[in-house]
């Protein structure tokens, strides 16, 4: 009989449903097959012209009905698709989930095509006056919804019958992990037996690409797109902007067992620590990331030598991978050379607000399947980063516990610790 309370007397949180969408496909089966065969989802951008752009590749999700309908519509469809897979797997009614919703999604802004439409609706006054005047005369709820930060969660709450006021969170590239953490904490507080945590990002617009590009954050390896994302390689030159989503149904182990649900994994611990050094750069000593990893281990009640695999943040930017190596080697010491550490982003790119959720989903599947997805494009190792990155080819391994890292602009550091089995 598994313990229903953890080492701190809190309800153990199980995962009973998983859903995922990335540039590799829709659903767990397709994604897992591609991920374990080392396939890349990175491809040339076709959604908009790439004239004058330094980066012309991405991991956009181009195969959904909403893929060309703007960031808000696509983010919603990504979230809905992943959530539906997760809720159905968990065995709950897809229109009556009856637990809270935690959504990680990108900040929204009115799409350029809508700005052009509004502007063209009048011919007097300044640009901003024209937009406002036409906006109030059109009174378009559809356009309005794309400008409201709570709209996507509101629609999802309707769609899935979640309980209460849904929370939309943004902690930059750690958002997906934060959404999971919020769900875990709500269950631990006894506020609910189950929660739906979703990370979704369909915001790879031209403007988003240009903004990241202006910060020199993106790879410009346009010629061979599938080779552009190369975490931990010496010649890594930035991340690849990507889209995707993942959803987890989190449930108290007690509730899951009571209703005979299949337990897909355990969310054992969450840790976070903010960095006060710089808006985009990490503290040089890596102390906030180190503190976040340690906090997650402590929250999980696990020692450093009890982690079998690290699902790295591994963005393929020069700075992140160096800092992540520093923090991992500080926490795990010499043993870090022997712990497999791989980056899903080598294949799916950086899915920003969704990344933490997608990588948690893949971490759980890694444990269930006993197969570690590789870090592809590892042809030119960075000699200063001595890690077993599971280079280029998947590896069979018994994985009982995973640490998944998420680090983001604004000093966001969030780590999750997951386990295959309850204790």
């Amino acid at each position: 009989m598994a313990n229903l309370k953890d080492h701190l007397g809190r309800p153990v949180v199980a995962v009973t449903g998983i859903g995922v969408v990335t540039s590799l496909g829709v659903g767990k089966a397709d994604n897992w097959a591609a991920l374990t065969s080392g396939k890349s989802g990175i491809h040339p951008i076709t959604r908009f012209p790439t004239d004058l752009l330094n980066t012309r590749i991405s991991g956009m999700v181009d195969f959904l009905p909403s893929s060309a309908k703007g960031a808000s519509a696509l983010t919603y469809e990504l979230a809905e698709t992943a959530a539906l897979e997760a809720v159905e797997e968990a065995g709950f009614a897809s229109d009556d989930f009856d637990g809270p919703l935690f959504l990680a999604s990108p900040p929204v802004e009115l799409d350029w095509r809508d700005r052009f439409t509004l502007y063209a609706g009048d011919d007097e006054g300044s640009a901003s006056e024209r937009l406002l005047k036409v906006a109030r005369s059109q009174n378009s709820l559809d356009m309005f919804d794309t400008s409201q930060f709570g709209s996507i969660a509101d629609r999802l709450a309707d769609r899935f019958g979640t309980r209460g006021l849904p929370i939309t969170t943004s902690t930059a590239c750690a958002s997906g992990a934060t959404a999971i953490q919020l769900g875990v904490e709500a269950i631990r507080r006894g506020e609910c037996d189950r929660a739906l945590s979703v990370g979704a990002d369909g915001s790879a617009t031209a403007e988003a690409l240009i903004r990241f590009s202006l910060l020199s954050a993106l790879s410009t390896n346009n010629d061979v797109p599938e080779k552009a994302s190369k975490p931990f390689s010496k010649d890594r030159d930035g991340f690849v902007l990507a889209e995707g989503s993942a959803a987890l149904v989190l449930e108290s182990l007690e509730s899951a067992l009571a209703r005979g649900a299949e337990v897909l994994g355990i969310l054992r611990g969450c840790g976070e620590k903010a960095d006060d050094f710089h808006r985009t750069r990490s503290k040089p000593d890596g102390s906030p990331a180190i503190a976040a990893v340690k906090a997650a281990l402590a929250d999980a009640g696990l020692a450093e030598d009890e982690i079998d695999y690290v699902n790295a943040h591994g963005t393929s930017t020069p700075e992140n991978d160096k800092m992540e190596h520093l923090s991992l080697s500080t926490v795990f010491g010499e043993r870090i050379r022997k712990i497999p550490v791989s980056s899903n982003k080598s294949m799916i790119g950086h899915t920003l607000s969704a990344a933490g959720a997608i990588e948690a989903a893949f971490s759980l599947m890694t444990m269930r399947e006993g197969v570690i997805p590789p870090t592809i494009n590892y042809d030119n190792p960075d000699p200063s980063i001595e890690l077993d990155v599971v280079p280029n080819v998947k590896r069979k391994a018994e994985v009982r516990t995973v640490l998944s890292n998420s680090f983001g602009f604004g000093g966001q550091n969030t780590c999750l610790v997951m386990a295959r089995e309850p204790v």
Binding site: F48, P49, D51, L52, L53, S105, P107, V108, L110, W112, R115, F116, A127, S128, R130, L131, L132, A135, R136, Q138, N139, S140, L141, F144, S147, Q148, F149, G150, D154, A157, G164, L165, P166, I167, T168, T169, S170, T171, A172, L182, E185, A186, R188, R189, A206, E207, I210, R211, F212, L214, L215, K273, A274, D275, D276, R279, F409, G410, G411, Q412
Partner: protein, 395 residues
């Protein structure tokens, strides 16, 4: 058993009325205080503008100030006031263990770049290429960071060294409600000992007005106080720039460090009503029933926006209880979106701490003459999401 009642130990406020709890108390308890209104800059919309602020008082480095636009500066400034007020600012240990939940929208776009793109669009058919052309050459690289929602929290970490944890919630008034509700729940459960929570809204930017006006929510024509806008031209909302941050603490934590307690934060309630089916008034009534409202006269700080439907529903729900005397804070500050609920909770805390109510903010609001021990704070979203909290005098 540890005493994990949630208490309020720090308040930071900025609005068109001024800055700080004391200044707001002074203005708001002086009957007949006139709102500060700018009806010219964004005609036909009136707004409540920011007062003049010496940013250096809370953001010492000019380099930090330059990295932000007004919204982030305003939030960082207001957060600093709350930390100062709670005796935490500059205390490295308390700051490093402090959690943070910020309710945020987005920052300011570059209006001149946008206007340039739109102007050029009149003579172009390849609009997508135009975007690439203009944005790659004209956008300031660091502007992106000034626009990112979570970078208000990021700047608070950098400037004030609050680094226990950093979470940003999005979603208009509801984000402010969830931020306070989550912070309080974390304290009550022992997940946090002290939390910085709040938000800011900078309305003096056409995009911020556009966010309301896409659905026709803004009031037009001569300014009127909140409860009197029904039937007026436009949608009823008059916006204001402002910010509100609170320091929430467990009672044990506050008492152990001898910190003054403004008030106790009681039940925090939130909801999401499917408004298109009607029933908002009943839903607000149901929240009121759960708010553990004590017997007798009750002062309420209403965050109502003025938006016709939501404001009418809230007024009907509040009026149906003759013991409630509501004050619509937006009549004097304008609607501050994500900061609206934290602001209402802050005014409620000031009233119980000072032991006095606020006079009517507009004609027609019920008198309240007593000494308030409990004050209700509400935020019924102009479009979606609802919340309220009961704030009580410290025991």
């Amino acid at each position: 058993m540890a005493n994990r009642d949630v208490v309020i130990t720090g308040i930071g406020l900025v609005s068109s009325l001024g800055e700080g709890g004391a200044a707001h108390w002074e203005k708001l308890t002086t009957a007949g205080t006139a709102p500060v209104i700018d009806a010219e800059r964004f005609q036909p919309y009136a707004i409540h503008p920011l007062p003049e602020i010496d940013w250096g008082l809370q953001i010492a480095k000019r380099g930090d100030q330059r990295q932000m636009e007004t919204w982030q500066r305003l939030g960082t400034y207001t957060a600093g006031m709350a930390l100062d007020d709670a005796g935490i600012k500059g205390n490295d240990e308390l700051s490093a263990t402090m959690d943070m939940v910020v309710a945020a929208g987005g920052g300011e776009r570059d209006e001149s770049v946008d206007a340039g793109v739109l102007a050029a669009s009149e003579n172009r058919t390849d609009l997508d290429v135009l975007i690439n052309e203009k944005l790659t050459t004209e956008l300031r690289p660091t502007l992106f960071l000034a626009q990112l929602s979570n970078l208000l929290a990021g700047n608070i970490s950098i400037v004030h060294k609050v680094t226990g944890s950093s979470r940003t919630f999005m979603g208009e008034e509801g984000a402010g409600v969830s931020a306070i509700e989550t912070a309080a729940a974390r304290i009550r459960s022992g997940q946090s000992t002290h939390v910085l929570v709040g938000g800011a809204f900078q309305t003096e930017h056409s995009d911020m007005l556009l966010g309301y006006e896409l659905a026709g929510y803004l009031h037009r024509g001569p300014w009127k106080p909140v409860w009197q806008r029904q039937g007026s031209e436009g949608g009823g909302v008059v916006t204001g720039s402002g910010g509100a941050f609170l320091v929430l603490e467990s009672r044990d934590h506050a008492e152990a460090r001898g910190q003054k307690i403004y008030a106790e934060l009681g039940p925090v309630l939130s909801g999401r009503t499917k408004r298109r089916n009607g029933g908002l008034e009943a839903a607000i009534g149901a929240l009121l029933a759960k708010a553990e409202i004590p017997e007798g006269e009750l002062l309420a700080i209403s965050g109502s926006s003025g938006a016709h439907a939501a404001t009418a529903a809230e007024k009907a729900a509040l009026d149906s209880n003759p013991a409630i005397a509501a004050r619509a804070l937006s009549s004097l500050t304008g609607h501050m979106k994500e900061a609206q609920f934290p602001f209402a909770v802050a005014l409620a805390a000031l009233a119980v701490e000072r032991g006095a109510g606020y006079p009517a903010f507009e004609a027609g609001e019920r008198e309240f003459a007593g000494k308030p021990r409990n004050v209700l704070a509400t935020a019924i979203g102009y479009h979606q999401f609802e919340g309220m909290a009961l704030v009580s005098a410290p025991r």
